[in-house]
């Protein structure tokens, strides 16, 4: 994540305190626009290690906003979500869930890495929870066309136990995978188009 984005995040945090405290009635459209600063217009991210928000299941968004509010996921989002009410969580997750899915990473995928990831996917359980087209459902995020660097960062955090998530599943599933495996999976998933036609 760039220093500029972090700075903007901190400034936004201050702004949000004002917004939350003084102008709670501000419309969700006005409030959600602040998200684009880091997550890109309409939630399609162009920032390193900042996830795209589009096409995510509403319940997943709710669980993550909750974890940020409780100070249990790292990064500038903790400041931004601090002071959110339960209703704020519901409103933001409902609104963000309407964003269109992100587009696949530009450029041609590396066939060798795609091949290794596809072989891995015959064994790991990813599609069982995240759907065969990686569109996500309930508390399980959409993985298709997510930023490769963010997917890799997330998986590394789960595997090392630094990120616990909303259950034990991810830590358990990634146990036994090598860092090269995680890199291959991230590369593959970043290139799965929204239709999911490239899945498996």
């Amino acid at each position: 994540m760039s220093a500029g984005c972090l700075k903007r995040g901190a400034a936004l945090a201050a702004l949000f305190f004002c917004l939350c405290a003084a102008a709670r009635a501000a419309s969700i459209e006005a409030r959600v626009a602040a998200c684009w600063t880091c997550h890109g217009a309409n939630g399609q991210s162009v920032q390193k290690e900042v996830p795209s928000l589009g096409g995510q299941p509403e319940f997943f968004l709710l669980t993550q906003l909750f974890l940020f509010r409780e100070g249990r996921r790292g990064g500038p989002m903790i400041e931004l979500a601090r002071g959110f009410s339960d209703d704020d969580l519901r409103e933001f997750s409902a609104r963000l869930a309407k964003l269109p899915p992100p587009q696949p990473a530009p450029g041609k995928p590396d066939p060798a890495r795609i091949g290794r990831a596809q072989a891995l996917l015959k064994k790991v359980h990813c599609p069982v929870c995240h759907n065969p087209d990686f569109s996500g459902r309930e508390q399980m995020p959409r993985l298709a066309s997510q930023r490769e660097d963010y997917l890799l960062k997330s998986m590394r955090e789960f595997k090392s136990g630094r990120r616990i998530g909303y259950g034990a599943a991810m830590t358990q599933e990634l146990d036994g995978l090598s860092d090269q495996d995680l890199q291959d999976l991230a590369h593959f998933l970043a290139h799965v188009p929204p239709s999911g036609s490239a899945a498996r």
Binding site: F59, L62, T63, F66, L67, E70, G71, R72, D86, L89, R90, K122, K123, V124, H125, P127, V128, C129, P132, R137, E138, Q139, M140, G161, I164, G165, Y166, G167, A168, A169, T171, Q172, E173, D175, G176, L177
Partner: protein, 412 residues
């Protein structure tokens, strides 16, 4: 075990064997080699289901906001005749384990969703909920003993002294034991002080199915100062509830069996420990019925202690307690109330209930439904996670799905 039940389970076992394409193990050099090779395969490579229905399963999450008191499924709950249920406390996100202090405070633990410890006190018939610790690492295990609250995470066990006098300003916890492995899978605890005055705690298997390292898959006990750690039970996968029979003082524990084997296998266990060091079979034998398709080669279920009771496929036994109150009818005295959280690794959801387990003089166990009604349209309306006998003999039941505690009473 009754004859018809034995027959039913035998049929289930045969069906399960057919499903996984299991062939009776024969010892040969070639197979030994195969088993050896298999052990190197990581657990996630094993037992991947091959049909679309199975591929729609996932852990069932609790909502991150507790259910409002007036929206709780209290009217859906069914109990045997003469019993009634009420909402005892609400707005306790992820309410799991429960223990009562000497002065009446009910301490409540939580797991992934909340990571908090709560204290619930009675203020003129109304319950007041306070958070006394937060941002803890999977703090499922709690125990109250001689004025102190013990809290167990996958990493360590700590103690909050004289806690009931300091609910508004809890003391800094004292470290009791900090040498737990700290693994996320099955690292969370259920802890309890036994009749011998020692603190019992499990270290679960660090995986779904694997050959666990030397310290895993066991129940241990230690002195209250953290000294004298010793293993009591072996071959245990993941216990989240145990208690001692009030008369025999013997240990009974629930054990959550492996995932991804089949819809109806394995069957979760209630086990009865009659000797220190007994082995209950993980990862070689499941439910006392079948050897594991990957790790069971060359092993026999005869070599492990059989479950005292099979409580249902993927049923997920959590908290349990022997009933030591006087309020309930005689038949429940010294019976076990056992929560079944309900399966996630099964397409047909069921359980999410409390069963009563009756044990006869020979140690034979049978179970009956007790608190039911929380499964509708293949979905959970609530999920019992622990039970606790109150001083008046009523039974508290925590529901981590809704973040609430119910109270079951009898008569009057």
């Amino acid at each position: 075990m009754r004859k018809d039940e034995t027959l039913r389970i035998a049929k289930l076992a045969v069906a399960a064997l057919a499903v996984v394409g299991f062939v009776a193990p024969q010892l040969s050099a070639a197979q030994d080699k195969k088993a050896e090779k298999k052990e190197e395969v990581p657990f996630w490579a094993i037992g991947m289901p091959k049909n679309a229905v199975a591929e729609k399963m996932a852990p069932v999450p609790a909502f991150p906001i507790p259910t409002a008191a007036d929206k709780l499924p209290i009217k859906k709950i069914k109990l045997p005749k003469g019993f009634k249920v009420e909402v005892w406390a609400s707005n306790i996100l992820d309410a799991r384990g429960m223990r009562q202090g000497d002065k009446g405070t009910v301490f409540v633990s939580s797991l992934f969703v909340a990571g908090k410890i709560y204290a619930v006190t009675d203020k003129g018939g109304k319950r007041e909920v306070k958070t006394i610790a937060e941002k803890l690492f999977l703090p499922n295990g709690i125990e109250f003993y001689k004025g102190a609250l013990y809290v167990a995470t996958p990493k360590d066990i700590t103690r909050y002294d004289n806690i009931e006098a300091n609910l508004d300003n809890p003391p800094k916890p004292v470290m009791v034991y900090d040498k737990l492995p700290g693994q996320v899978p099955h690292g969370w605890k259920f802890i309890k002080v036994g009749p011998d005055g020692k603190l019992y705690f499990p270290i679960g298997a660090p995986c779904n199915i694997c050959l666990p390292g030397a310290e895993y898959a066991q129940i241990y006990r230690m002195n209250l100062d953290g000294s004298g750690v010793e293993s009591v039970v072996q071959g245990m996968r993941n216990t989240v509830g145990f208690d001692w029979h009030p008369k025999t003082k013997e240990l009974w524990f629930g054990d959550n069996q492996r995932d991804w084997l089949a819809e109806d296998m394995p069957i979760d266990e209630l086990n009865h420990v009659t000797k220190k060091g007994q082995n209950f079979g993980f990862p070689y034998c499941h439910s006392g019925l079948m050897t594991d398709p990957d790790y069971g080669w060359g092993k026999s279920c005869k070599d492990y202690v059989k479950p005292a009771l099979l409580i249902g496929p993927h049923a997920a036994p959590l908290g349990m307690r022997f009933y030591t109150g006087k309020m309930f009818p005689k038949k429940y005295h010294n019976a076990i109330f056992l929560t079944r959280h309900g399966p996630w690794n099964r397409t047909q959801k069921y359980a999410a209930d409390v069963v009563a387990v009756f044990i006869d003089a020979k140690g034979h166990a049978r179970m009956e439904p007790f608190l039911t009604g929380l499964v509708e349209n293949n979905q959970y309306l609530g999920r019992p996670a622990d039970v606790m006998v109150m001083k008046d003999g009523s039974l508290l039941v925590s529901d981590d799905h809704n973040g609430a505690i119910y109270r079951v009473s009898y008569g009057r």
